[in-house]
């Protein structure tokens, strides 16, 4: 299609959109194509389970950039189109309608898809998932006051949906197989604080409970639980994790390892093909080169920008500290670093009652910090902790535990 090979980004989500603009910011003036599978221009996904779900009216997606911004940045945006193949020998991608686009460097930012629940039963196809704006619209329309909503999975998406549905006046039950909520991403104390808040709001939280099968009776869905009970729901939604979208990379023979396998420069096994965001796994230098894959808004953005610079030869390792937030009711949870990397926990109890939980490694290095509080009251401390983690700081546990010792001062003391 395009004669002069340019930069091509496959994936029109947060990561792909950010990468396209970052290519321009980093000085790329040649052809630039962004291929998105959805019909809309790139939009923000975090509101889908939060503010969009609690609104009293159906709303359009919060766009990251509209077509005018894409056009004025000289980004050729191809919407509603999937890339079906990477012809690496000819440096071309093949689109679903057969067109080919030549690339000099390619970024795979295909994201992730909601993990499907392998559930037997007549109504198993009636389970809803949340990934796209269309998913959100369909789900939003089911949240009428008094609607019985069964949420399968007590992770971040499931809990945000449970909170939003409760705010809309629904009767919500959360079914989680693990003995605690958010077992993959949060400490036990934060998980129990979140469980308490949900219960206070009237959510029926059932940990250590699985779903055996699902059937339909008239308009209702019947969820048969491992406890022997049957839950009657108007709507069932599953939030049981996401799978990296690796089909395109795999078909092209690129290495895949819990996501498209990239190095610290976000390069795949082909030096002209990069991958970033939810779809890729990379060895994190701050965690001993442990290969991780993140599904988070910030990571999608930061990796998109970093991959863009590396596509232009920056040769910059991606070392950004993982950072994550979740909004449920009036509470916001912040996590920096990898909670499961720490061996020692230090708790700072602030005068306002908020607890900041720091996790240190065996060598005394700060590896993670997390907190939950009303609104954004924990954002500053977690942000400062994130910067300390990035610096490989080894703050003294006594200092960390002391609420009068400002983290900013600790940061300004410089490397230890």
């Amino acid at each position: 299609m395009s004669a002069v090979p340019g930069m091509v980004v496959v994936g029109g989500g947060e990561c792909g959109a950010r990468a396209a603009f970052a290519l321009r910011e980093a000085g790329w003036s040649g052809p630039l194509t962004l291929v998105g599978a959805e019909a809309e221009p790139p939009y923000e996904r975090p509101p889908l389970s939060k503010s969009m779900m609690t609104r009293s009216h159906a709303s359009a997606p919060a766009t990251i950039c509209d077509t005018g911004m894409l056009r004025s940045a000289g980004i050729d945006f191809i919407a509603g189109t999937t890339a079906t193949d990477i012809d690496r020998d000819n440096h071309e991608i093949v689109l679903d309608h057969g067109h080919r686009i030549a690339y000099r460097r390619l970024l795979v930012a295909t994201g992730a898809t909601a993990r499907r629940l392998p559930l037997p039963g007549a109504a198993a196809d009636g389970v809803r998932y949340l990934r796209s704006h269309n998913d959100a619209l369909a789900l939003w329309a089911r949240l009428w006051p008094g609607a019985r909503i069964g949420v399968i999975g007590g992770g971040f998406i499931g809990l945000e949906l449970a909170a939003s549905a409760t705010v809309r006046g629904c009767a919500v039950t959360v079914v989680e197989l693990a003995p605690q909520l958010m077992s993959r991403g949060a400490t036990a104390q934060i998980a129990s604080a979140v469980a308490a808040r949900h219960e206070q709001a009237g959510v029926d939280v059932r940990c250590g409970t699985g779903v055996v099968r699902m059937d339909r009776r008239d308009e209702a869905m019947l969820l048969e639980l491992t406890t022997g009970e049957t839950l009657v729901c108007d709507t069932v939604v599953a939030g049981i994790g996401a799978m990296p979208e690796t089909a395109l990379a795999q078909k092209a023979g690129l290495a895949v390892d819990n996501g498209v396998r990239v190095d610290t420069r976000l390069t795949t096994s082909d030096p002209d093909v990069f991958a970033a965001g939810d779809c890729c796994s990379w060895p994190h230098p701050l965690y001993g080169g442990r290969r991780i894959r993140l599904e988070s808004w910030r990571n999608a953005q930061d990796q998109g920008s970093a991959a863009a610079r590396n596509m232009l030869g920056a040769d910059e390792p991606f070392t950004t500290v993982p950072w994550f937030w979740s909004d449920q009711y009036d509470l916001t949870l912040h996590i920096a670093g990898l909670p499961d990397a720490a061996t020692t926990e230090v708790v700072r109890r602030r005068p306002d009652g908020v607890e900041i939980r720091f996790g240190l490694g065996a060598d005394g290095r700060l590896l993670t910090a997390s907190a939950i509080g009303t609104g954004n009251t924990t954002a500053q401390d977690i942000r400062l902790a994130e910067m300390l983690i990035a610096r490989r700081a080894t703050p003294h546990p006594t200092t960390l535990a002391d609420p009068t010792a400002g983290l900013k001062a600790l940061l300004k003391q410089g490397p230890h």
Binding site: A62, W325, N376, Q380, R383
Partner: protein
């Protein structure tokens, strides 16, 4: 000519920090730099409506607590993704230990 509104006492703000201020139903953020200078901007991030007073003030930058949108708080200039729109700023003057901001 701006109307000068008493916002707070000089000592209400720590060095390199920010506090919120409200006047006539409008939210502002008032800053004190490490060099002991005072600045004022609109109270909310231009990306999504988040109160900047919960954000981090460091190295001449206020960072939105939600999505890390960054602004130079001395000029209001947006300093990178996700923020694209600059922050409105307001003149500040100090008199007898009181911080006044100028509102048009």
């Amino acid at each position: 000519m701006p109307e000068w509104i008493a916002a707070c006492a000089v000592d209400d703000i720590d060095l390199e920090d920010v506090i919120p201020f409200q006047h006539d139903g409008v939210d502002y953020a008032i800053y004190r730099s490490p060099q002991d200078e005072f600045f004022a901007t609109a109270g909310y991030c231009t990306h999504e409506r988040m109160a900047l007073c919960d954000g981090l003030v460091m190295d001449g930058i206020i960072e939105c607590p939600k999505h890390n949108g960054r602004f130079d708080y001395t000029t209001g200039k947006a300093a990178g993704a996700p923020v694209l729109v600059d922050l409105r700023t307001f003149p500040v003057t100090i008199e007898d230990g009181t911080v006044y901001i100028g509102i048009e």
